[in-house]
Symmetry: C2
Subunit: 517 residues, 2 copies
């Protein structure tokens, strides 16, 4: 990734094209553990508009209410805090939820990775890119679409580990459908812990599996460390509209009680789980997510938590969810503003698309999701790589194409250097009107770091591209992920720790009703 305007790089010792190429090849890509945005956020709504949405979210929570189904502890916590309970439905006086959150929720926190150099900051100007989550299917150009397996899961962990532009190992990067449902979480967590050294996410399907996830982290990081630091995220969906089932609320409370971060994500397809108008879906999303974040604070004040946003549009011809459309983009911008005012880190979706294959549709829709995610100031971008077919499929080619687009935003997020080297008056003096800058001292001085050059983008001549087989970018991506897997070297792990992780998993397997095999 280019570091604009930095002048501390090594100078080329030879001049001309050869020297430039050598300098460029020498240049190791720096891979910061997360992005630190030096660019401003995009402020879509005015103060008045933001107040309208905030008041509307408050009104929904006060007058329509929010149901938590089958979790008496959660009911008690909210009633003690000032909510009114009627059956399983909670009604919140305007401002109550915001006050609970702002009393104790951290605006930024560190999620620690087992390699400290890979720990990520979540909140503020930081942005973390994490792979797509939850697909039952996987696909590649060779074998097409099929159910995911543990082998696929491990492949995607390896690919995320190998990508300099992904900062996180993710969670259920695909469903390992070849394992019993109640044991998948143990295998998935072991893969994240063993085959990567980046931060990761735990199970959220039951409170018991969430507890397993945290217990495994205690083995990996040590009990005391886990008590004091965030080492795992749990991504919990609201049962939109305005319902949280008891299992989900217990999962949220399990993570919070252990000082780990629940990602609280409404799941709203406009027209189905929310109204068809964007402002209404946005207010609903904000209201739902706030209630869940507030629950984390009632469970354990000061626990890290992330406000989630998943708000999509729908094809009104077919009822199918659509992605990369303008309405969710507008909602991204607004929820970014709302999250900053609330003071809680924001999760958004990344390279989302409805396409079944890594074609132009997939790329356009994905870019139309990632642009607003970055410019709205999202702190944790889930689904940043691989998402295909509305999340039903994790695509190998899509994964590496998306990761490269994340690389582009790593450069964009640095903004524009305006120092003397960047302004380059000396280059204009040297070259002057009508000449070219290729051999100028300024070009040679900045050669190693100038211009992001996407590996999978072919900018060669038509003739050269034809000679090389007229490959489309999906075909080039196919070669790339295979090369990445072939060249993959696992990060080192302490043998005793590895043993302890395996022993824990073996004990849990023995205690679970289904066998491992």
């Amino acid at each position: 990734m280019a570091m604009h305007g930095e002048t501390t790089g090594r100078r080329s010792r030879t001049s001309g094209r050869e020297g430039r190429q050598r300098a460029r090849a020498d240049h190791a890509v720096p891979a910061p553990p997360y992005l630190t945005r030096a660019i401003p956020t995009y402020e879509l709504l005015s103060e008045d508009g933001l107040l309208r949405i905030e008041r509307h979210a408050d009104r929904i929570l006060a007058e329509i209410g929010f149901e938590i189904r089958g979790d008496a502890v959660a009911h008690r916590l909210f009633v003690q805090a000032g909510a009114r309970l009627d059956g399983e439905r909670l009604y919140f006086p305007p401002g109550l939820i915001r006050a609970i959150i702002q009393a104790s929720a951290p605006s930024t926190f560190i999620q620690h990775a087992r390699n400290p150099a890979r720990s990520v900051r979540i909140g503020g100007h930081a942005t973390v890119f994490s792979p797509a989550y939850g697909s039952p299917f996987v696909a590649d150009l060779d074998r097409g679409r099929r159910y995911g397996s543990l082998a696929d899961f491990e492949n995607f962990v390896r690919l995320a580990y190998a990508s300099p532009y992904l900062h996180h190992s993710g969670g259920t990067v695909c469903e390992p459908v070849d394992l019993p449902v109640n044991q998948r979480h143990l295998a998935m967590l072991y893969a994240h812990m063993r085959w990567s050294d980046k931060a990761f996410m735990g199970s959220v399907t039951t409170a018991e599996r969430a507890a397993d996830s945290i217990a495994l982290c205690r083995v990996l990081f040590g009990e005391d460390f886990v008590e004091r630091h965030c080492v795992i995220l749990g991504n919990v969906n609201v049962n939109s509209p305005l319902v949280l089932d008891g299992e989900a609320s217990r999962v949220i409370r399990t993570y919070a009680a252990a000082n780990q971060a629940a990602v609280c994500v409404p799941f709203i397809l406009g027209g189905a789980m929310g109204p068809v108008t964007t402002a209404a879906g946005l207010a609903q999303c904000f209201a739902e997510a706030m209630v869940c974040v507030a629950l984390t604070q009632l469970e354990r004040p000061g626990a890290p938590a992330i406000l989630g946003n998943f708000l999509s549009s729908m094809s009104l011809k077919s009822g199918a969810p659509t992605f990369g459309t303008p309405e969710p983009a507008l909602a991204y911008f607004a929820i970014g503003q709302l999250a900053r005012r609330l003071g809680v880190p924001l999760r958004c979706g990344g390279n989302l698309c409805a396409s079944k294959i890594p074609d132009a549709q997939a790329a356009t829709e994905s870019a139309n999701s990632l642009w607003p995610a970055i410019l709205c100031g999202a702190n944790f971008v889930l689904h940043a790589a691989g998402w295909t077919e509305g999340g039903l499929t994790m695509g190998y080619e899509k994964f590496v194409l998306d990761a490269e687009q994340c690389g582009l935003f790593a450069v964009l997020a640095q903004g524009m250097a305006l120092d003397d080297n960047a302004l380059a008056f000396d280059a204009f003096e040297e070259v002057g009107p009508g000449k070219h800058f290729l051999g100028s001292a300024h070009t040679l001085r900045n050669y190693e770091t100038a211009f992001f050059d996407a590996d999978l983008s072919d900018s060669n001549s038509f003739e050269q591209w034809s000679e090389e087989g007229s490959l489309d970018s999906a075909r080039r991506a196919n070669r790339k992920w295979k090369r990445m897997l072939a060249e993959y070297v696992p990060p080192p792990i302490d043998a005793g720790t590895d043993e302890a992780l395996r022993a824990f998993i073996a004990r849990r397997q023995a205690a679970l009703p289904d066998a491992w095999h």
Copy 2:
């Protein structure tokens, strides 16, 4: 295109899915003649940063200078205005160029189309999408890449006319290579005038052809109307760095003298025609474009003009131009700010890419160009549809894919409605927690206008998509442009006007050295 939050639409008379589908099918797509952005621009640089760039541009013009080669009239105009001439190089005291522009250049103007309902506003909050410009080649999935012909040219004029999301017919939408070079402009202009009723661009290859272009407009619009109104644009490239050849300067002056709009566009590939650092290329681009806009004002104070931006990066591995990279995106945002401060309409590139085919690379790169073009507040977006292979090829499939992405921005640019219908409290009251909104009164009321649904994006199930042939979006685009051409009906034209245009062209052909056939 959805009109968010408008509640004036017809109500559905039947309920349920059938009623919704009927209402949706009835809904004619409104096609405003241009976008009026209701969303804010993205402000990348601070006041201090903008001043640095402005002062740097001033310094380049004062100390490095700018050459106009072989146009003594232009030299005289600038010297009379206060510049110093040395040989053919002009040196401008800091602030001079800005003062010339701000004394008389309009910040917004109307380019009239022969159909008054299609006239476009250029400047302010308006954005106009225009097809790609200047490709010698064309390509489609059936016939591959080949030289463009007049038949191709006419096809692209028809496609732009038929697209509700393109506001302009463009200029050299492809080179009609089957015609003699010195007669192409007459055939191209006739095609724009006859086969579309949208606004268009004229020839810029010689001053004589520019004069022909304007003379043809006098036939179409009437002499008096052309004297008082802008009816044609001429897109003129600077010979970057810091040179304008005499033919180009005469073309600029020809358009300005006739009260028509020169689009003044530096052509900078960083590392070749400008330094490799973004801030330097930006300052150079701004300086060059300002000199050309100033020339229009010296030729005829008050003449419309557009400040152009074409600043691309380069693959430092191969020297090839690259598109959709982060550096030009940053430059877009900044030049948008600079153009607003200057008070002159801005041209940016639209769906730019280096890819040879309409694949994921093409789509990603294009989105990475169009997003900053919109958010920077570009007023005239050239190359909004069809651009392929760094501008060498005009792609049929790319054209319709790009046009659809322009449609997405038509919705985005409207921003988010925040009225009571958009906030939809009645929908929450009707539906409540845990239910769905599909049949709610609010959904039915907003059904016709909710959610942009891209025609070429397939959001169907994997099974349905497979049954329909597993087409990628390029293949669907192939079907679409053929259908659009098959269904094309030319706009009416007055028979006498048509005759007069043909007679003018026949006279000019007879006077030109090469024969028509």
